[in-house]
């Protein structure tokens, strides 16, 4: 018998897929909580009174979904990771309460749609950036504009959407890709396709 250990269907998650995705989400939750603790206050104060600029931080919250998808490469990876990361935020305390789960779902949906359009076969920078941008649109247009910024004038609403898209593309898509590649180089992702690719280069 010769047997190459590999993944069969993109829909069949292995144990390692589920657990790595979940732990990644929790770890990123901790990292963002740490971000709040020593970087964010500066940004927070700078943008508290001016949300369009705060839109530039949107990508940070989308990054886990992108990273999860780039590692696991299965339908649902973004939703799974983003929902758990949101739960961690809840447990550690956040600004928005349980409604972060709505944000999580919307953001992850944007990611899922783009990767599904490419049939879970393309995982490069461009696709990740596109996914990040769509994710930001979903979050802002689908939720924040009505829940938080209903009374903004149209121009300011547009500016908010643009800032968020830029952030989604560069921070979530770009930095997310870089992060996953870096992790792959350490050998920690050897059980995943992205780890194998980084080795065979």
């Amino acid at each position: 018998m010769s047997n190459t250990v590999s993944t069969k269907s993109v829909f069949a998650w292995r144990g390692i897929d589920l657990i790595t995705a979940a732990v990644l989400a929790v770890a990123l939750g901790v990292a963002f909580w740490g971000f709040d603790a020593f970087v964010y206050p500066l940004i927070g104060i700078a943008t508290a009174g001016f949300p369009p600029l705060g839109g530039l931080a949107t990508g940070v919250w989308i990054l886990p979904a992108v990273a999860g998808m780039l590692i696991i490469r299965r339908p649902g990876a973004a939703i799974f990771v983003e929902l758990i990361a949101a739960n961690v935020e809840l447990t550690l305390g956040n600004s928005w309460g349980v409604t972060v789960l709505i944000s999580a779902l919307l953001q992850a949906a944007g990611i899922e749609i783009i990767f599904a359009l490419f049939r879970y076969r393309r995982f490069g920078f461009a696709v990740a950036a596109l996914a990040g941008a769509l994710s930001a649109i979903f979050e802002i247009v689908g939720y924040e504009l009505s829940a938080y910024y209903a009374d903004f004038s149209p121009l300011w609403k547009l500016l908010l959407v643009l800032c968020s898209m830029i952030s989604g593309a560069f921070v979530a898509g770009g930095l997310g890709s870089l992060l996953v590649r870096g992790l792959a180089r350490t050998g920690a992702l050897n059980a995943f396709a992205v780890g194998r690719e980084s080795r065979s280069k």
């Binding site: 144990g15 929790v26 739960n87 961690v88």
Partner: protein, 665 residues
């Protein structure tokens, strides 16, 4: 395919080559083990012992993908890992031990009985609801063993089950294993570096060499006596041998060098004591990088892209601070890396070298800047004789050079070299007051969603004020019903968010009307503040029970998510440890936002590497208990979801508050 009898193992021409590795890790292994046989598996570091056990347990692909050639036939294997922390899936002893039973579809009713008997079998007298993390190392390992036993395995695979334990806890674990094997007649295959104490229990020994080949197979007495020279060359800890000669390393000489050892039972608090001494010392030192630190998780000390960079970072900073010539400092680092046998790896990526090599690199890192004092946490654990001699050589050289060393260890050979030995007595562990579930997870999630719906109708000041008044009344009612609101601090970010929304909706709106801002603020407050208050009560395991059993969410993602959430405290501890290490090493002290962002990214990266690696071990431990094999349709649950009086009350209040703005308009 030939049929294998239960408890038997048949391995035929097994070769395993991970994708990441140019050469096979296991080469053409063939052996048969009869039901009831007790086998010891030994070999030098990196010979593939753990890998072989994982192959036998059928969980090889969990940590690495690769090519598996050959055949493994085995029935009913149960695998116990080195670190019991890796196998935690839940928050109580009961749920932990029931995990394998749940996956096997055992009915709920007899589970408590089975688990109680299992606890008795391993000699653990704790209540079923006791938190699984509130145990000493030895107790936790016995709990993990009981969790493996609960699945009734015919072949017990033990991967270094006692290497992290002190001698008394280790003896207790061995005793438990011996009894179990005696009573059930199950087959035993155990891997252990320090195997002398296992010899009375086993009747056969398999020896792997560093190329992953099976070189000897036979009765322990015969193998050990007939091949003692070859075995010694493999650097194995053979019984009766003297401790190896420390390697000769020269780090110069100075006065005041000293070795203080902190020892004591596993879980007594050696690490805590070591770190508190380190902190006190660090605060007293006025010069940069006066201390060195080797943490238990060596990988956390990695900084930079090469082995040399990692080892030299602090030395370079110190040299600059003290005005020492760069070349002199560098030659010192080269010397210590060479002394520790990793000089040839200087240009390699530090994440790519083996675990044993990383440990020696971390030691080099702790000593390369010639610190006045160094703090080492279990520097010799899990090392073969060869690396032991190198590590001890470096420790002795540091003492000669004038470094004061404080070492937490349970290695008797290292303790014998100390100038001073301090025995750490375990502190009486304060009983953990089990947080009573007050509100169900589902309610915690659903109530604010309802309120969000209601908030859309808060479009006038009147509606906003009514909703605010409603919130205050609800808070009073809940407090009266026993809900503890201790969230003043947790509410702060929420209050800031409300303020931010209010202000921005005022001056970024078309009319710039302050009332618009006020209403917007009240609207957001109506669902954000209760959401935050409720969220502080969230318990993952209990939410998981409700999602999977009531809402029929697929069980595997729920279980994985709950297991990961259980690691939250662990990951926070790792995060703190990373920050601590960076501070000790003098990096990341910059004040500006860019420096802070840099430091943050480097911390995140370290945390993620560690987290993903531990996820691999967790996946192995969970799959070994049937997590991925389980027919999820017939999977059972050890506990029913809970639902109480407060749940009804919170739901009722949420409905009323949601309706209020509709009525107000």
């Amino acid at each position: 395919m030939t049929k294998i009898s239960r408890g038997g193992v048949q391995v035929t021409n097994l070769t395993w080559t991970p994708f990441a590795s140019p050469e096979p890790l296991l080469r053409n292994l063939s052996f048969d083990i009869q039901p009831g046989e007790r086998v010891l598996l030994i070999g030098p570091s990196g010979s593939g012992k753990s890998t072989l056990l994982r192959a036998l347990a059928g969980v090889l692909a969990d940590t690495e993908s690769g090519e598996l050639i050959g055949r493994v036939a085995i029935e009913g294997a149960g695998l116990l890992l080195q670190d019991p922390n890796d196998s935690l899936v839940s928050d109580s002893i009961f749920r932990e031990m029931a995990f394998g039973l749940e996956n096997a579809g055992v009915a709920q009713a007899p589970m408590a009985n089975i688990v109680t008997r299992g606890l008795e079998a391993v000699g653990l007298s704790k209540p079923l609801a006791h938190p699984s993390t509130d145990l000493s190392g030895g107790e936790m390992q016995r709990m993990a063993f009981a969790g493996v036993l609960a699945t009734n395995p015919d072949v017990l695979l033990l991967d270094e089950p006692t290497s992290m334990l002190d001698s008394i806890s280790a003896a207790a674990v061995r005793e438990t294993v011996a009894q179990q094997v005696e009573q059930t007649g199950s087959t035993l295959i155990v891997v252990e570096h320090e195997f002398t104490d296992w010899l009375p229990l086993v009747e056969r020994v398999l020896v792997l060499n560093s190329r992953g080949e099976l070189i000897f197979d036979g009765e322990p007495r015969n193998v050990l006596s007939e091949h003692s020279d070859e075995l010694q060359n493999l650097c194995l800890w053979l019984p009766g041998l003297q401790a190896p000669e420390p390697a000769t390393i020269n780090l110069g000489s100075g006065s005041g060098g000293r070795i203080t050892v902190l020892t004591g039972a596993s879980g007594a608090g050696k690490t805590t004591e070591l770190k508190s001494r380190l902190r006190a010392d660090q605060n007293n030192k006025t010069i940069l990088a006066g201390v060195g630190y080797l943490p238990q998780q060596a990988e956390l000390t990695i900084l930079g892209n090469t082995v040399f960079e990692t080892a030299h970072k602090t030395a370079a900073l110190a040299a600059r601070g003290l005005g020492i010539e760069a070349s002199q400092a560098e030659s010192n680092t080269h010397k210590i890396l060479k002394g520790l046998g990793i000089g040839q790896l200087e240009e390699r990526n530090p994440y790519e070298i083996s675990g044993g090599e990383q440990r020696r690199l971390a030691l080099a890192t702790a000593l390369a800047h010639s610190p006045l004092s160094a703090y080492l946490d279990e520097p010799t654990v899990g090392q073969d004789r060869g690396s032991w001699s190198l590590i001890i050589g470096a420790i002795l050289a540091a003492r000669t050079s004038g470094t004061k060393l404080t070492i937490a260890t349970h290695d008797p050979r290292l303790i014998a070299l100390a100038d001073e030995v301090i025995e750490i007595k375990p502190l009486a562990i304060e009983p953990v007051s089990e947080k009573k579930t007050s509100v169900s997870g589902i309610v915690i999630l659903a109530a604010p969603m309802l309120l969000l719906l209601g908030s859309l109708r808060i479009t006038s000041l009147a509606a906003g004020v009514i909703s605010l008044a409603g919130l205050v009344i609800a808070a009073f009612l809940l407090t009266a019903a026993g809900f503890r609101i201790n969230t003043a601090k947790a509410l702060l970010p929420g209050l800031i968010a409300v303020l931010s929304v209010g202000i921005s909706n005022w001056y970024l709106s078309e009319q710039q009307n302050p009332v618009t801002g006020l209403v917007a603020g009240l609207r957001v407050a109506s669902f954000v503040l209760p959401g935050i208050t409720l969220a502080t009560q969230l318990r993952p395991i209990q939410l998981g029970d409700q999602l999977a059993q009531w809402l029929k969410v697929p069980p595997r993602p729920v279980i994985a998510a709950v297991a990961a959430m259980q690691r939250l405290q662990n990951l926070i501890a790792t995060w703190d440890e990373l920050r601590f290490i960076h501070r000790i090493r003098g990096v990341g002290l910059g004040k500006g936002p860019i420096a802070k962002l840099n430091e943050w990214s480097s911390l995140v990266f370290g945390l993620l590497v560690q987290a993903i690696r531990s996820a691999g071990s967790t996946a192995v431990a969970m799959d070994a208990r049937g997590f991925s094999r389980a027919q999820m349709k017939s999977r059972t649950w050890a506990s029913k979801p809970t639902w109480g009086r407060l749940d009804w009350l919170v739901l009722l209040l949420a409905f009323l508050l949601t309706a209020a703005p509709f009525l107000a308009n």
